[in-house]
């Protein structure tokens, strides 16, 4: 039986990789994917705690996380497309048209 701490370690490492992707990449699509990695890491620790505490609450929470992730991705990609139409770049450092 794999102990709970190993699942949590995998989850922490995946979350850290996601944070690194958000901080270090400038391609906006890859930044979005890194956010997905972070959400998935959180799902893993929620479900891991569920298994070891014999509850189902964490699975319902991760269900909600999936719903929010789907909403976030659809709106975010729509925003990227509409910005791309105005200014053909996906470099995050050039996305400053909302500044005033």
């Amino acid at each position: 039986m794999v102990p709970l701490s190993h699942y949590l370690i995998v989850s922490a490492i995946l979350f850290f990789i996601g944070v690194l992707g958000v901080l270090l990449r400038r391609n906006v699509i890859v930044v979005f994917m890194s956010i997905e990695i972070m959400l998935n890491a959180v799902n893993l620790s929620l479900i891991g705690f569920d298994r070891f505490l014999n509850q189902h609450d964490g699975q319902v929470f991760s269900f909600m996380v999936m719903a929010v992730a789907a909403a976030e991705v659809s709106v975010g990609l729509a925003i990227i497309i509409s910005i791309f139409r105005k200014k053909p770049t996906i470099n995050l450092d050039e996305f400053n048209i909302m500044k005033w």
Partner: protein, 168 residues
């Protein structure tokens, strides 16, 4: 026996996750992300959360990644070698998050944590089935469930409005 499945799967997850942020071409990043999500679905099966594993494959590796692929193809993004460059402003933040992760791992490894809930609970037959999760979803969490459906509706309308071409 479980270890022989857990460690290769988690290694695969971590390798694919690193592949997402290291690849210069967005398509390779997306394919790596699909691999990571499938590995996570395997981990969910190991944790007896079968419904969540299926939803992970259907929603994440299916729907969301198709959306990503679609946008990458639509914008015709080429692999841009110049894009992989450290941003100087964020190096401090990245190292701070590294410290955070080291602290977290130290806490997880530390004693007192594993003694309380490290022992796996004895599971009933119905753990992780659709019936068990659905019962909780429609009794205790029925309000968040309805709010999530409204959120999805709003996101759908918002995506259509944002991505619509200007008619003038």
């Amino acid at each position: 026996m479980e270890q022989f499945i857990f460690y290769p799967l988690s290694l695969m997850c971590i390798v694919f996750a690193v592949g997402v942020i290291v690849n210069t071409s967005p398509i390779s990043s997306a394919v790596s992300l699909i691999g990571m999500m499938l590995g996570l679905a395997g981990l969910f099966v190991l944790l007896n959360a079968h419904l969540m594993a299926i939803l992970q494959v259907l929603v994440y590796a299916g729907a969301i990644m198709v959306l990503f692929m679609f946008v990458i193809m639509l914008l015709n993004l080429k692999g841009d070698d110049e894009d992989w460059k450290m941003r100087g402003k964020n190096v401090l933040l990245a190292s701070l998050s590294g410290v955070f992760v080291v602290t977290l791992l130290f806490k997880i490894f530390g004693d007192g944590f594993s003694t309380n809930i490290g022992k796996p609970a004895v599971l009933p037959e119905t753990f992780g089935t659709t019936a068990a999760v659905g019962e909780l979803l429609f009794t205790d969490f029925v309000l968040p469930f309805e709010v999530a459906s409204i959120l999805l509706l709003v996101a759908m309308i918002g995506a259509v409005v944002l991505a619509k071409t200007k008619l003038n």
